[in-house]
Structures are given as C-alpha cells and as structure tokens.
C-alpha cells in the first residue's frame, strides 16, 4: 500500500513581465544609481558616476537612495527610476 503526500512549496513564480532590450550605448542616456545604504556604497557610486560621465558620455546621472539596505525602494524612488534609461543597483559593503 502506498502513501500520497502533498507538495509543501509555493512552486515556481511565473513572471508576467519580460525584460526590456539592453542598451547598445550609454551615450546621451540617463542612468540611475541606486544607493542601498550599505557602508562604502557612496564612494563606490561616486566612482561609477565619474566613469559614466567621463568615458560613456551619459546625458545625466540620477542618484537614488533606499531608506535602508533591508527594505525595498519606496514608491517615490521607483517613480524616479522610470525617468532613467538604465539603473545600476549597488551593493556596497
């Protein structure tokens, strides 16, 4: 005699949105830099911003901040991201 048992997991989560095509160039683009509020992230992103401006000819860099490392970006920050062509989400530590 066999035993029938149930799957305890939530299963795969189906993504309902696809990925946008990648950018071929950053020239003339607006790039958002998301600060996760960990130690040293500001220095890391300062350097990234300098590289983006000096070597890639970006139009603008928008600096964004999460409230702290363990919470998601709030709606106002997410809204600001929609102004960007690309986002770099940093994990400084």
């Amino acid at each position: 005699m066999s035993i029938r048992v149930l799957d305890p997991t939530a299963g795969e989560v189906v993504m309902t949105t696809g990925l946008v095509p990648g950018l071929t160039s950053l020239a003339g683009r607006t790039v958002g830099l998301l600060d996760n509020r960990k130690v040293n992230v500001r220095q890391l992103l300062d350097h990234v911003e300098e590289v983006l401006r000096s070597r890639h000819g970006v139009k603008a860099v928008i600096r964004l901040k999460k409230p702290d490392a363990s919470r998601p970006a709030p709606p106002a920050v997410l809204a600001a991201m929609t102004e960007c062509d690309a986002i770099i989400s940093a994990v400084g530590d």
């Binding site: 029938r4 048992v5 149930l6 305890p8 939530a10 989560v13 702290d68 919470r71």
Partner: protein, 347 residues
C-alpha cells in the same frame, strides 16, 4: 454555491511509505534537515478544519517579493513539522504577524545577520495545547513549543524560499532557526502577560514575534537587590551593542522564577524593569575600543557619543518563563535594531 471542502491545490506524490516520503522530501530540500511527518491529504484537511480555514485562504503576503502564504501550504508544513491540528491557530497567527510590514519579513529572513523569529505565546491557548513555560523553556522536550516554531521555519523554507545560500544569506544563523517558540509562565507570575501589555485583551490568547539573534544567558545569584539583578541583564545588552549591533530596537528578557521572585518581592513590575533597562543599557562610542573596534571611536559624534539600546522603555519585551531553580536569565537581542519591530497579534 461553495463546496463544503474546496479541493486542495498542491501537487501530489505517491510513495511507498513514510520513510520514503522523508527521503524524497529531504532530497528535494523541503525540510530543515530533520525528518518530517508525511503530509497526507487527509491530515492536511484535518489541520485546515481545526483552524477553520479553506485551502486558498490567504494568511499573508511577503510584501517585497509579493509571495502569498496560503492556508493549505501552512497546513502542509505544520503537519510536516509534527504539529497537532490544535496548534494551527498559533502557527497561523505567528505567520500573520510576521507578514506585518513592521516585522520586515524579507529583510530579517534574508539578512547575513542570521536572525530567527522568536515566538512568545500568551493566554489560555498555552495550557489548552500543552505548551511549556518552565523547565528548559528555551530547550528541548515539549512537542508544542518545538513544532510550532518548526512549522514557522518550514513555511519560511518551503513557501518563501528562505533556503541557506539562496534567499537566506545568513553567515552563521543560530539554533533558534530550527525552532524558537515559548509560552509565558502566567500561572506563576503576578506580572501582566506580554501580549496583554501589547494590546491583546485580558483573557484572550495572543502571540508576539520578534526577529531575534541567539539568546545570551546571564547569571546573578549574589544579590536580592532589583537594580543589581537588572544591571547584569543591562551589562549583557551593552555587550551585545558593542560586540554585535549598536542599533536600538526591541530586546527581550526572559526572567525565570528565582530572579523573578526577588524582583516581585521588591515590588517591581515589568514597567519598572523596562524603565531601569532603558536608563542602564547605554554605551559610549569610546567603549568600542575595549572590544577590538577602536577604529570606530573617532567616527560619527566622537568618543563621548552616547548610544541607547532601547528607543523607549516600551522596546523591551519582558517575559516570565523558565524553571524554578537558578539565578539565570536570558537576553534575546534584536536582529538589527529598528529594521524590524516586534509584532503582537490576538489569536
């Protein structure tokens, strides 16, 4: 028209026997590493009925990743953990509390800090389902305490994907991640029960959850003075602030009978304890030099900058529990100060 018993939605597996079920679940990573009880359809239905829930009822949503926790999955994991059906309301309420935004379920379970949800149960449900509040309360030996905490952990693993090295990024974790659930000893304490202090009506049952690091045990058997007794607890909190995390937030004290009776004899209520610890659990930036963190002394506000453990006396959870003998107590530190708040719910 609604069905009396809406059908269960989970995938079903047919295996030879209970031992094969255990091996299959172990192989799939669906446990905490310990053996499980086979979650058969009949058992899972029985657990749902005991809680008055339909399979699709939503217990909560982990808001960051938008992961729903359904009653069916909770029941499956509660069976696996070794719960009895009567424990379901406690498991469900603990999970509901953890889905409160204040608890920060995603952050506290994914963090390298490696915290575990500490569950404290109050009210008549404790005795009705046979919980332990005395001997070895933070240890082994009581099925109810052990399996309620384990059911919460299995839901985190199986439903939210809190698997070490995947979503759970704990560097170390601690033994409370297997199970971390106690009852308060209301019968042998004149103090107001924790849940009641935090808004659960008198006579009702309630649970409190707190994202916690490992307990730090203290001992003071050399005084009857309440302030001296509490100074030992405060010293351990100060040590935690310096060696682990400086951020203020909820701390829990578990105070067993021997020290509790001395405090009670001196007329101290929980509020007096909270106010004392609020005043005493403070350190200065310069103190970091004593614990190998001298690099921090000159930063921020400089050597004389003061740090508090509690943002207000109410941040301290005082719990009467533990065996009768021994001048011991426990400090349970927060995962990361104000990033997660203790949450209390009525069952």
């Amino acid at each position: 028209m609604t069905l009396a018993n809406p059908p269960l939605q989970s995938a079903m597996y047919e295996l030879a026997d209970a031992l094969d079920v255990n091996e299959f679940y172990q192989h799939n990573g669906w446990t905490d590493g310990l053996p499980i009880v086979p979650p058969t359809e009949e058992r899972v239905q029985e657990y749902l009925d005991a809680a008055g829930l339909a399979p699709g009822d939503l217990i909560g949503v982990e808001s960051v990743r938008q992961r729903p926790i359904t009653a069916e999955k909770v029941a499956i994991n509660a069976v696996m953990a070794g719960c009895l059906p009567t424990y379901m309301p406690v498991v469900v309420t603990a999970l509901r509390a953890m889905c409160d935004e204040d608890f920060n379920l995603h952050g506290s379970t994914a963090s390298t800090g490696g915290s575990a949800p500490f569950v404290v149960v109050n009210g008549p449900v404790r005795t009705a389902i046979g919980m332990n509040a005395t001997h070895g309360v933070l240890g082994t030996g009581n099925r109810t305490n052990a399996t309620i905490g384990r059911a919460v952990r299995l839901v985190l693993i199986n439903v939210l994907g809190c698997i070490p090295g995947q979503l759970d990024r704990s560097t170390l974790g601690h033994p409370g991640k297997f199970t971390f659930c106690i009852a308060e000893d209301e019968e042998d304490s004149p103090w107001t029960p924790l849940a009641q202090e935090r808004g659960v009506p008198a006579g009702a049952s309630g649970i409190t959850v707190m994202a916690s690091e490992a307990p730090r045990q203290v001992m003071n058997e050399w005084t009857h003075d309440p302030e001296e007794i509490l100074e030992t607890f405060a010293a351990e909190i100060r040590h935690n602030m310096l060696t682990y995390s400086i951020w203020p937030g909820n701390y829990a004290l578990v105070i067993p009978k021997q020290l509790r009776e001395l405090l009670v004899a001196a007329g101290w209520q929980k509020q007096n304890i909270r106010e004392y610890i609020y005043r005493a659990a403070r350190v200065f930036r310069r103190d970091w030099a004593k614990v190998g963190k001298g690099q921090l002394v000159a930063r921020g506000g400089g050597p004389d900058q003061e740090f508090i453990a509690l943002r207000s006396p109410d941040d301290l959870l005082v719990i009467a529990a533990g065996g009768p003998a021994g001048g011991f107590g426990v400090v349970i530190p927060p995962w990361l100060g104000p990033r997660s708040h203790a949450v209390t719910r009525t069952i």
